[in-house]
């Protein structure tokens, strides 16, 4: 799902830059946007020859097994290798000079933040199949009593570097940091792959990473409607999220509130309509009418595009504490007004259940608008339980 996460994956390029700096190690690598010209420094590295490693850098797990890594790529073949990875639906790569090593040397280490602080996990058998080596994982909580010397022996990373890693983890507001694999030899620590998740709420407090460094991969191409909502969300103090689950679904949800939206989606699923669920999303934090207008417009576009034979829209939420129902509904109604004839032609019925500030006016305006356009399923205030209203709406579509 493309909903914004409070924990965001950092590009591997940025992660390695930060980690290497903390360890006072040199780092050579490039972050490459396949859709843009190659960075000048990489261009000159290519001209100098040598071999390279190319990896998709979009927070994807199990890259090696999915064929999203190209190793030992000769300088002359680099652009072609990049194009191949692009054709698999990716945009961002990390490119590094190829480092040779024996497979047996690969080790694993990770740091994870939780309520009690930082938990460190390590294994002498790192690499692409670490999940299969779960029994080899050892874990140690980092605190004042941590025996760094003993840890150094077990991880083959010297105690100074272990503490530098821990400090980098804390200083940069990392939530998760995995170095897998790394090589530990007489020549010191060598980081091959790493993955970092940061707490994006800390963006204000760090300058080592920025929002531009976040990488994600949705599994499907973002629809234009999702992109518009993302843009809207990025520029609003309120929260507006939209994810398409099934483009040809029959049940469309226009929901408010982080908790209530899940309750509604649960109800659709519990009643056995999960496969027909077209989207998940929610708005909250008292968006203005313009924002709910744009949001609704996107959702209605998706609804009209869906090939499902019977379609229903459920507009719902709990009893809001401070989100103004009349104001937010004004935007929703405006968007419905614009495509009312198309909605009516498609036989769409709209069901509403909502409470909160100015609910009387908001619900009344909504009912009038829906009745006028022949779209009225039902409009309920909080006297009707939320899930009862969902059930009623589900009657409109065929049970799977």
């Amino acid at each position: 799902m493309m909903v914004d996460m409070p924990r965001q994956k950092l590009s591997e390029y940025r992660a390695k830059t930060i980690i290497s700096k903390a360890l006072e190690l040199p780092y050579k690598g490039w972050s490459v946007d396949i859709e843009a010209p190659l960075p000048a420094q990489l261009q000159s590295a290519i001209e100098a020859g040598g071999t390279f490693a190319l990896k998709v850098d979009q927070g994807v797990k199990g890259r090696f097994n999915q064929g999203l890594v190209a190793l030992n790529v000769k300088a002359a073949d680099l652009v072609e290798a990049a194009e191949q990875l692009k054709s698999k639906g990716y945009q961002w790569l990390i490119v590094e000079p190829m480092a040779e090593h024996a497979p047996g040397d690969e080790r694993y280490i990770s740091f994870m933040s939780d309520r009690l602080g930082v938990m460190l996990q390590f294994s002498a058998s790192g690499g692409v199949d670490i999940e299969k080596q779960a029994s080899s994982l050892q874990q140690v909580r980092v605190n004042d009593a941590t025996d760094w010397e003993q840890l150094a022996q077990k991880t083959a990373i010297n105690s100074r570097q272990l503490q530098q890693l821990t400090q980098a983890f804390l200083d940069n507001y990392f939530a998760f940091m995995e170095i897998n694999p790394y090589l530990a030899s007489e020549n010191g620590l060598q980081i091959l792959d790493s993955a970092v998740e940061v707490d994006d709420a800390a963006a204000f407090f760090v300058d080592s990473w920025q929002i531009d460094d976040f990488r994600s991969h949705s599994g499907h191409d973002q629809t234009p409607e999702e992109a518009v909502v993302k843009e809207l969300d990025d520029n609003s103090p309120a929260s507006l999220k939209l994810s398409v689950l099934e483009p040809n679904g029959s049940i469309f949800l226009l929901l408010s509130g982080g908790g209530a939206s899940v309750v509604v989606a649960d109800e659709v699923y519990n009643q056995g309509y999960g496969k027909q669920l077209a989207n998940y999303g929610e708005y909250s934090g008292n968006p203005n009418a313009e924002e709910t207008y744009i949001y609704t417009k996107q959702l209605l576009q998706l609804l009209l595009k869906s090939q499902a034979s019977r379609k229903v829209l459920f507009i719902g939420g709990a009893v809001a504490n401070f989100t103004d129902v009349n104001k937010t509904f004004a935007g929703v109604i405006k968007a419905i007004d614009e495509v009312a004839d198309k909605l009516q032609a498609a036989g769409v019925k709209i069901f509403v259940r909502r409470g909160g500030p100015n609910q009387e006016a908001g619900l009344a305006n909504m009912e009038v608008a829906l009745a006028k356009h022949g779209l009225l399923g039902a409009v309920h205030d909080p006297d009707v339980p939320l899930t009862d209203a969902v059930k009623e709406a589900l009657q409109e579509v065929d049970h799977e």
């Binding site: 914004d4 309520r115 689950l245 899940v262 309750v263 989606a265 649960d266 100015n358 899930t387």
Partner: protein
């Protein structure tokens, strides 16, 4: 979290960090509807203004605003038991750290901001634990204890919502929720089913809520009013396993009815992220389904369909077990455009400073009335009135040579009317002419208030390249003193019991005149110092109150009031001569061609 916290007997005295008028007004409305005699929200910490207007029932009240928590009077900080924090996420750690230091008797707090960094929330949690404070948040709509207190947006932000939620009297069902919208939904569900709420707590949907579900359950267990717990949880995290352990080990014995949202996650291969930060199952054990089973095994009644909650609660309710308690109602109200503490009509008659106009006029001298109006309160101290009278007389005119008089005269001779000519003169009042009284009061207040040595004070000014207001005169020198200053000094010694500001100003003069003979304490600086002393010693003005007078330019008002008489005199005088337009001659201007 507070071990001793007794929610039902809380005596809320609340300070708000940041201002969110909708939330604050709804808290005051709740407070009023309960029939309480006075608002429990006593201060707002926010930049940019000194007070904010709210309704207390149908009347408008002013809640004092302070720029910093440290500026809130000590007495209020000692009294404060509750805190509303509506500041931005980035300030939460710093402001909460300060809060725990400055509010020693704090018991409950609500942090409203979303997007507080996880590690900041954990640091606040550690402090909350150490200081024994129940903190709802981050990303929480707060804590409601029906009949006692509403802290935060919880229950709604409009009066009709409070009525619809039926929360003016308490019941026996505790509502605990990770979701703000759902906490309100659950309150409606409980009261709609004919039960009442013992307390409702929104933990916030963050990964690391400061008060954990387990702590909230223990609070419900110890709350004497709570008979059962209604809990809304979500997929992600392992809190429900801890809750199950509490129930199994007998630490929580009260019945639990729960809904765990997020079974819909079963639709997806990749674990999805829902609306709340926490709502992301990292593995099977964090799924809604697994957590529901864990709670069921521990004895909780776990609903698969949210609507079943209402059915179950209704079945429990005995008829009339929770009746809506009558509350003090709020009718239509509207905000006045302007608030005045000086004057206004009462029953159609003009009142000044709280008294009927003519009685004020009859009881006051002109100086007494003027100083009372300027200070915004009826002044009765004869010493203050006498001294004010003297200053008003002293400053009335200082010859036609000064900037203000010249401008008035020029305007008068150009044929302008009285009001225009007067304002032409008044507009010259500023840092170099007449307007230094306020700046000097600022300087003496700062210097004497911070116990700075006059020498260091002067050094500080000169280091910044500034001139010291209230020091220096074009004409008078140490050997030819300003006779007005001498006269003022005599008048002052009769009228004031305190002289720390004057002593300080004279200390500064001793330093500056040792450098240059005309850097004397001038009439502006003298008046400023004396007024500070007399207000402090006669009217008990605190340094903060004196600071406010500086901020609002009170000290310049006295000069402008007095000198207006002189300027109008020059205007009338010129009109009597009627010499015609004043034009400078060639000798009056030196032209330097470029």
């Amino acid at each position: 979290m507070s071990k001793e916290l007794d929610l039902q007997n809380l005596e809320p005295v609340i300070i708000s960090l940041g201002s969110h008028p909708g939330i604050i007004q709804s808290m005051l409305d709740y407070n009023y509807c309960l029939g309480h005699s006075a608002p429990n929200l006593v201060a707002i910490v926010s930049a940019g203004r000194k007070q904010e207007r709210f309704f207390w029932g149908h009347d408008e009240i002013m809640v004092p605003v302070y720029a910093k928590l440290a500026k809130v009077p000590e007495q209020l900080r000692q009294q404060a038991t509750g805190l509303l924090n509506v500041q931005s996420a980035r300030r939460v750690l710093a402001s909460m750290t300060e809060t725990f230091e400055l509010l020693p008797n704090l018991q409950v707090a609500n942090i409203f901001a979303e997007q507080v960094p996880e590690v900041h929330a954990l640091q606040v949690a550690a402090l909350a634990e150490q200081h024994d404070v129940l903190v709802a948040g981050p990303a929480s709509v707060g804590l409601l204890v029906p009949g006692v207190m509403k802290l935060g947006a919880i229950g709604g932000t409009q009066y009709p919502q409070l009525v619809a939620a039926n929360i003016f009297s308490g019941g026996d069902t505790a509502v605990i929720s990770t979701s703000g919208g759902m906490v309100n939904e659950l309150i409606h569900t409980v009261t709609g089913a004919g039960l009442g709420v013992s307390f409702a707590l929104a933990l916030g949907g963050d990964r690391n809520p400061i008060t954990t579900p387990a702590q909230a359950f223990l609070l419900a267990e110890s709350d004497q009013r709570t008979r059962q717990i209604v809990y809304f949880g979500e997929l992600g995290g392992d809190d429900e396993y801890i809750l199950a352990d509490l129930m199994k080990s007998g630490k929580v014995t009260k019945p639990v009815i729960a809904y765990i949202a997020g079974t819909v996650a079963g639709l997806f291969d990749q674990p999805p992220q829902f609306g709340h930060a926490k709502a992301m199952a990292a593995n099977q054990s964090e799924s809604a389904q697994a957590k529901k089973e864990a709670l069921r095994t521990a004895g909780a009644k776990v609903m698969d369909v949210f609507g079943e909650l209402a059915t179950d609660l209704s079945a429990q309710a005995e008829t009339g077990s929770h009746q809506a308690k009558p509350h003090r109602p709020i009718k239509q109200r509207s905000k006045a455009m302007i608030v005045s503490r000086i004057s206004g009509d009462i029953n159609g008659g003009v009142h000044l400073l709280g008294k009927e106009l003519l009685s004020v006029v009859n009881e006051n001298s002109l100086a007494g009335l003027d100083i009372s109006l300027l200070l915004g309160q009826q002044i009765t101290s004869p010493k203050v009135i006498e001294f004010s009278d003297y200053i008003l007389r002293l400053l009335a005119d200082h010859g036609p040579y000064v900037s203000g008089a010249v401008n008035t005269i020029v305007a008068a001779r150009a044929g302008k009317d009285l009001a225009s000519s007067l304002t032409a003169g008044l507009l010259t009042i500023g840092p170099r002419f007449g307007g230094a009284v306020n700046a000097a009061a600022d300087a003496w207040l700062e210097g004497a208030g911070s116990d700075t040595e006059p020498k260091a004070f002067v050094a500080g000014f000169t280091a910044n390249g500034g001139i010291i207001p209230g020091i220096g005169h074009k004409k008078y020198r140490i050997d030819t003193p300003d006779p007005r200053v001498k006269a003022l000094t005599e008048q002052f010694s009769n009228n004031s019991n305190g002289d720390r500001y004057l002593k300080f100003a004279q200390g500064v003069e001793a330093v500056t005149t040792s450098k240059k003979a005309n850097l004397i304490l001038n009439v502006d600086g003298t008046i400023a110092a004396m007024l500070l002393d007399i207000l402090e010693s006669e009217l008990d003005y605190s340094p903060d109150k004196l600071r406010e007078l500086v901020d609002i330019e009170f000290f310049n008002a006295i000069f402008i009031l007095s000198r207006s008489a002189g300027l109008m005199a020059h205007y009338l005088d010129q009109r009597r001569h009627d010499e015609g337009l004043l034009r400078l001659g060639e000798d009056d201007i030196t032209y330097i061609p470029s």
